[in-house]
């Protein structure tokens, strides 16, 4: 009896302690269980809705919504739906860091996708990396691949300047000539593009006749143009973005540079071409996506059709498509991992072999750069069939790790 009582007393004391500990831990455990299991899968999406790249950013949101819709329509992750939390980063690295931190701390997002500017994407990546949140970047950047900015949670869905400018250079220099001039916006994007062209050009024996830097957001390029016209380069690479691209191409055309020189933009934007109109005629450049890819790639057709159905027959832009791909890569990996656990999703993304909208692509192991095709497009004018029919695809560089900087050069061990 005494024994029994003693045993039961000891048991109940231990039980009380265990139960108390459990009860104390319960809210935290429940929150964790909710975040991991019951609630929706939340994807934070910071993009510059206002500011110079507003048109591109709004298209990214529209396309990203399609990826979410498709995931949910297919049943989600065992009935767990996904949702997109869009935030305006105002094209400002500080603003982006604040919004990202809020998304992580307050909104408890599971993943991050977004940003549209090299400086902003590095800022978002920095916050995400510190907090151990998976981030899939959809902005051009070389630095994000490099060991010093890379983290195991960092993925890069977009092209990088090295592969984009490289592909354009390898197409343009043999075809249009070796005397090359650069007119470059004086910031990271422009510098990285010039480096990409020069690296590709070295192997082809190009001669750089001028390398002119202009301040970002310049409204007049006329003072640079007589000199460029006098040099008569075979190729003029305009390494700038958005409105700078529109104005510089417009003014170079105005100065009659096209008589002697092929105008080239590393990234020839769908939106810029539509805003710039006929001044773009004949300009060649690279892109990650152009909707006419649907003529040869079935997944492009499916993606465009979904976009057209959702948005009154509109076609997605290049950067818009990246919004779709960025979110879809994450959600497909969630499905493959059968979990939203960051480590499991990272492993699934590393193993992902996708053809979502433009043909095959995969993330390279060492730097998580998406290895994918680069399209070379030429702007048309006279034989346009409708306002969206602005480019002809004149070349495609197939996905090839050899076109990237090596893992060792980027500072990775593997």
């Amino acid at each position: 009896m005494a024994d029994e009582t003693g045993r039961s007393g000891a048991f109940s004391r231990r039980g009380l302690l265990q139960g108390g500990a459990l009860a104390l831990a319960a809210p935290a455990l429940m929150r964790r269980a909710w975040a991991q299991g019951a609630g929706p899968i939340r994807i934070g999406f910071p993009v510059p809705l206002t500011g110079a790249f507003g048109a591109e950013a709004n298209d990214q949101v529209r396309a990203a919504q399609i990826a979410v819709k498709e995931f949910n329509a297919a049943g989600g992750l065992d009935g767990r739906m996904a949702e997109l939390l869009v935030r305006d980063d105002k094209l400002n690295p500080g603003e982006a860091a604040t919004r990202t931190l809020e998304l992580i701390e307050k909104d408890k997002v599971n993943f991050l996708v977004g940003a549209l500017s090299a400086a902003v994407t590095l800022s978002v990546n920095n916050v995400a990396r510190e907090r151990g949140v998976l981030y899939n970047s959809i902005s051009q950047s070389d630095a994000i691949n490099e060991a010093k900015d890379f983290g195991r949670t960092t993925f890069h869905e977009a092209l990088n300047p090295h592969m984009t400018a490289g592909a354009v250079g390898r197409y343009v220099f043999p075809k249009h000539g070796k005397r090359v001039a650069f007119l470059t916006a004086d910031y990271a994007y422009g510098h990285e593009m010039v480096r990409g062209f020069r690296r590709a050009g070295e192997a082809l024996g190009i001669e750089v006749v001028a390398d002119i830097r202009h301040p970002i957001g310049a409204s007049d390029y006329s003072a640079f143009l007589p000199r460029l016209a006098a040099l008569k380069p075979d190729v003029l690479c305009l390494c700038n973005f958005g409105r700078d691209q529109v104005v510089s191409i417009q003014q170079a055309t105005e100065f009659g540079l096209k008589r002697t020189t092929k105008l080239v933009a590393p990234v020839l934007l769908f939106t810029a071409r539509k805003a710039g109109g006929d001044a773009f005629e004949g300009v060649v450049g690279g892109t990650s996506y152009y909707w006419r890819l649907e003529d040869s790639v079935p997944t492009a057709k499916a993606f465009n059709d979904a976009f057209r159905a959702a948005y009154n027959g509109a076609v997605p832009s290049d950067y818009g498509a990246l919004g779709y791909a960025g979110v879809r890569s994450v959600l497909e990996s969630v499905k493959a991992a059968k979990s939203t656990d960051t480590d499991k999703v990272i492993a699934a993304m590393e193993a992902l072999r996708a053809d979502f909208y433009k043909g095959p692509q995969y993330f390279r192991a060492c730097d998580h750069q998406s290895v994918q095709s680069v399209l070379i497009v030429e702007s048309k004018h006279k034989d346009q069939k409708g306002p969206d029919d602005v480019f002809t695809i004149v070349g495609t560089e197939q996905p090839d790790e050899a076109r990237l900087r090596t893992c060792a050069e980027l500072g990775h061990k593997a």
């Binding site: 830097r213 202009h214 006329s222 006098a230 100065f255």
Partner: protein, 296 residues
Amino acid sequence: MMIGPYPLDLLALQLVTGVALGAIYVLVGIGLSLIFGLMTIVNFAHGAFFMAGAYVGVFLYGYTGNFWVSLVAAPLAVGALGLLVERLLVRRLYGRGIDDPLLLTFGLSYVIVESVRILFGLTGIPFGAPPALRGAVDIGIGYFPLYRLFLIVFTALVVAALWLFVERTSFGLIIRAGARDRQIVQVLGIDVSKVWLVVFALGCGLAGLAGILAAPLQGVTPEMGIPVLAEAFVVTVVGGMGSLAGAVLAGLLVGIVVAMTSLIAPDMTKMAIFALMALVLLVRPRGLLGRAGALG
């Protein structure tokens, strides 16, 4: 023939480019200078009026398809806006020192820019030169855009008309007298408030004209007036506050300095015009053709 590392043709072409750039500076500079010289108002909304002119012109072009209609209508519409602003806002601040109208026009510039953003969107509107003025022509030293040649000639005509107005009409006489000594003009029984109304509207109209003329060079965006305002101030300070000839001289000088710096040291371009201003202020504080004590 070479001068330094540059062929003479290139330098000459660069000079013409600078003059074309200067044409826009001249037009915005004259308006700002007139308003300051006569009314002692530092018009911080000048860049916004410039932008408004471009939008009015491009908007009308969408309806009429005729650039020349826009070229006439834009300065008239912006001039009318200037009339309203002077009558309803600026007039209440006369005699309150230089700061109050400055703050008023500063705030007004934000209202105008934000209104345009709401009405026409954030991304801007593409706009090209009228078909008759497209393309480049050989001017003997190389190819030069036809539209920019037109810009030089047109600005010269506008400046000539302004000069006739100020130097050869009785109203111009009052403007000149007012710029020299406001009190005496008042004492002579002239209704200066009417003169100020006209001068403010004229200055704004010139900013609007510069805006529509600049539109084919760069397209239009709500923010296009911001850099222009800074450049217009440089022109006004270099030329001398209130001096028509000074604004013309300084506008051309700034254009040429920008063009030449772009050739020799492209990354110094933005700084060069401010260096010019500092230099002029050191050597001649009243500006190239300004009178002493204009700021007193």
